[in-house]
Amino acid sequence: MELQIQGKRAYVYTAGHAIDPALPAVAFIHGGEQDHSAWALQSRYFAYHRYNVLAPDLPGHGRSPGPALASIAAMAGWVIGAMDGAGVKQAAIVGHSMGSLVALELAVRYPSRVAKIALLGISAPMPVAEPLLDAARADDHAALDMINVWSFSSRAQIGGNTAPGLWMLGMNLRLLERQAPGVLYVDFKACHDYVGADAAASIQCSALVIAGSRDQMTPPRATHEFVKRLPHAQTVTLEGSGHALMAEQPDAVLDALIGFL
């Protein structure tokens, strides 16, 4: 559906369903340089299992016009605007990578609007290496190539996709290439500059952390360090998965979310 959020048009995937106030809601927040379709194999399931699903394209991503938002706090405020626009008072927030920081920020700043949080591929802080930031700033395609290779485990780089006939590396690279110039740098800078992790200790809602044992972008060690600061958290580690958890192990991610939500 299309919504007006903070005075601008924005796209939110709902699997084509209208919002039903009687049902619980779950919002899926994508990572940097991605859009709602990163959640294709998770969001659709919940939309057909008695949930209102909101999977927005953050400003500057996918079908939502830019500019991209420059901070995680701004993105969290925008998601609240999306919930307001859709008439959703409270939602479980599921975020991946940059989106997991948005989910964290929402739970800290808007606790009454957040029922639960599920954080996939998270580390907080989430530093981005300077050479990668430089390549992103220059809109150098090498930045996309780096992200693409580092997003997948070496096993997944051979393929064997659960989704028949789709080549994961190609799918991910094309999605990265679809985003407008400059968006990647804004996203990465927002992640790099995020300093809200200390407030994680104040979060009262239950939290699920899903980590990939072969994640090169947010390594499991960094994830586990962060989880120590997060009360009420359970962690699921997907053996063999890289950072692109939803693509590499879609059923395991979905099963973990079904159990948690």
Binding site: Y13, G16, D35, H36, S37, A40, L41, R44, Y45, Y48, H49, G62, R63, A129, P131, L132, A135, A142, D145, M146, N148, V149, W150, R155, Q157, I158, G159, G160, N161, T162, A163, P164, G165, L166, W167, L169, G170, M171, R174, L175, E177, R178, P250, D251, L254
Partner: protein, 431 residues
């Protein structure tokens, strides 16, 4: 910081799309010769049917062996995914039927495989889809032929039979200026010789029966999507951008930003038209692809030797091969096909049809049959076989004469092939 590398072409040819079998550890891709797949429970079944979970339901829609082939070809082409079809013709039909319906129009190169020409010229008009054929060397002709109802630009990377080299970057620019995708038939070039997506093409397909398989034992086609074309921005493709009643009102380009075309082609095209590939054929074609880089090198090496031999032979009127300086696309071929211009080419023997007949009947190593891209060398007379439906004027327009002979150069010892050709050329000149 060094840019990390993904796996290279030769490695992908052997491995892409396949993990060793998790149950028994089989290294080769197993042939999943089964029509259907058991559900874990009713919720799992419903989720698979409704695309809430990924997996296999019924082998007309998808099959694990076919899926390995699909991923492998997509990886080699630099695409996002693929669909294995019953034949190259089935792949072409699947692309067209996914993109358009009655009242639509295609602009196509006139230098096409005879089967593709039949589909576009004779058969599709019966279903309300018209085609305008243009000279592939006249890039502006593609532009001027575009109508408001045009939905596709189509050509072969190497045209049949004159080996017209399609100027993919320029034709793609014409297509994109009009908000249209460019589909190319890459059968003659394979991803080893050309990767059309890197040149601007949006969709491509192969008759996998030919060089991808290489062994001549399995019919199949593979349709590949680059994932680059923005169907929503074009606004010309309601099948991909508007709710589809045949699948719970799904809007395919909302469901998947980059794979909308493949989703619709599989969920509608394979489901309803049913021209799927058998798992056994997928297995055979995978065996071929494992050696594709090595075979293509040898195909090109042998072809260059034979082109040189024929070009200097007194009984040969002309040889059509883009690496020859007198070919109209020589410069373009140098630019787009630096590794070689394929292993299928035509030449004209002096003496017209009778000489051509004597030539073919005298060959021993070359097999006289209707196929190309086999490991074994092949020969055919297009005017009486692959292009027999064309009248003389149409034949001339596609560069075929009555004495034109088409060769597909295989992997035999080049000296044996040259000796076979030499003997047959000598016989062809005897009255």
């Amino acid at each position: 910081m060094a840019v990390p590398k993904s796996f290279q072409f030769d490695t992908l040819s052997l491995h892409a799309g396949q993990q060793p079998d998790p149950l028994y550890g089989a290294r080769a891709t197993p042939i999943y010769q089964t029509t259907s797949f058991v559900f874990k429970d009713t919720d799992h079944a419903a989720a698979l049917f409704n695309m809430e979970r990924a997996g296999h339901v019924y082998s007309r829609i998808s099959n694990p062996t076919c899926a390995v082939l699909e991923e492998r070809v997509a990886a080699l082409e630099g695409g996002i995914g693929a669909i294995a079809a019953a034949s190259g013709q089935a792949a072409l039909h699947l692309a067209i039927a996914t993109l358009m319906g009655a009242g639509s129009h295609i602009v196509a190169s006139r230098s096409l495989y005879g089967g593709s020409h039949n589909l576009l010229h004779y058969t599709l008009p019966r279903f309300g889809i018209a085609t305008t054929f243009v000279d592939p060397r006249e890039v502006d002709a593609f532009r001027t032929a575009i109508r408001p109802n045009t939905r596709l630009i189509f050509g072969e990377t190497l045209g049949n039979p004159g080996l017209d080299v399609l100027d993919v970057p320029r034709v793609a620019a014409v297509a994109h200026d009009a908000g249209l995708p460019l589909l190319v038939d890459s059968t003659f070039t394979t991803p080893y010789l050309m990767r059309p997506f890197e040149l601007g093409a949006d969709l491509l397909y192969h008759s996998a029966t030919k060089f991808l398989g290489g062994h001549g034992v399995a019919i199949g086609g593979v349709l590949v999507d680059s994932g680059k074309f923005d169907w929503e921005a074009s606004g010309k493709f309601p099948p991909l951008s508007e709710p589809y009643d045949g699948f719970h009102g799904m809007v395919f380009d909302e469901e998947s930003t980059v794979a909308a075309f493949l989703l619709r082609a599989r969920r509608e095209g394979l489901r309803d038209f049913g021209a799927c590939m058998s798992p056994t054929n997928a297995f055979h074609i995978l065996q071929g692809i494992e050696t594709l880089p090595l075979r293509m090198q040898r195909h090109i090496e042998n072809t260059r030797k034979i082109v040189a031999f024929l070009a200097g032979h007194a009984a040969v009127e002309s040889v059509i091969y883009p690496e020859l300086p007198d070919h109209p696309d020589h410069a373009l071929a140098h630019k787009l096909l630096p590794k070689g211009c394929g292993a299928v080419f035509s030449f004209a023997v002096r003496g017209g049809r009778p000489a051509g007949r004597r030539f073919i009947d005298t060959l021993h190593v070359f097999s006289h049959l209707a196929n190309v891209g086999d490991a074994k060398s092949l020969v055919i007379h297009p005017a009486s076989t692959t292009h027999y439906r064309m009248d003389e004027a149409a034949l001339r327009a596609t560069g075929i004469g009555e004495g034109t002979i088409r060769l597909s150069i295989g992997l035999e010892d080049a000296d044996d092939l040259i000796e076979d050709l030499s003997r047959a050329l000598h016989a062809s000149q005897k009255a």
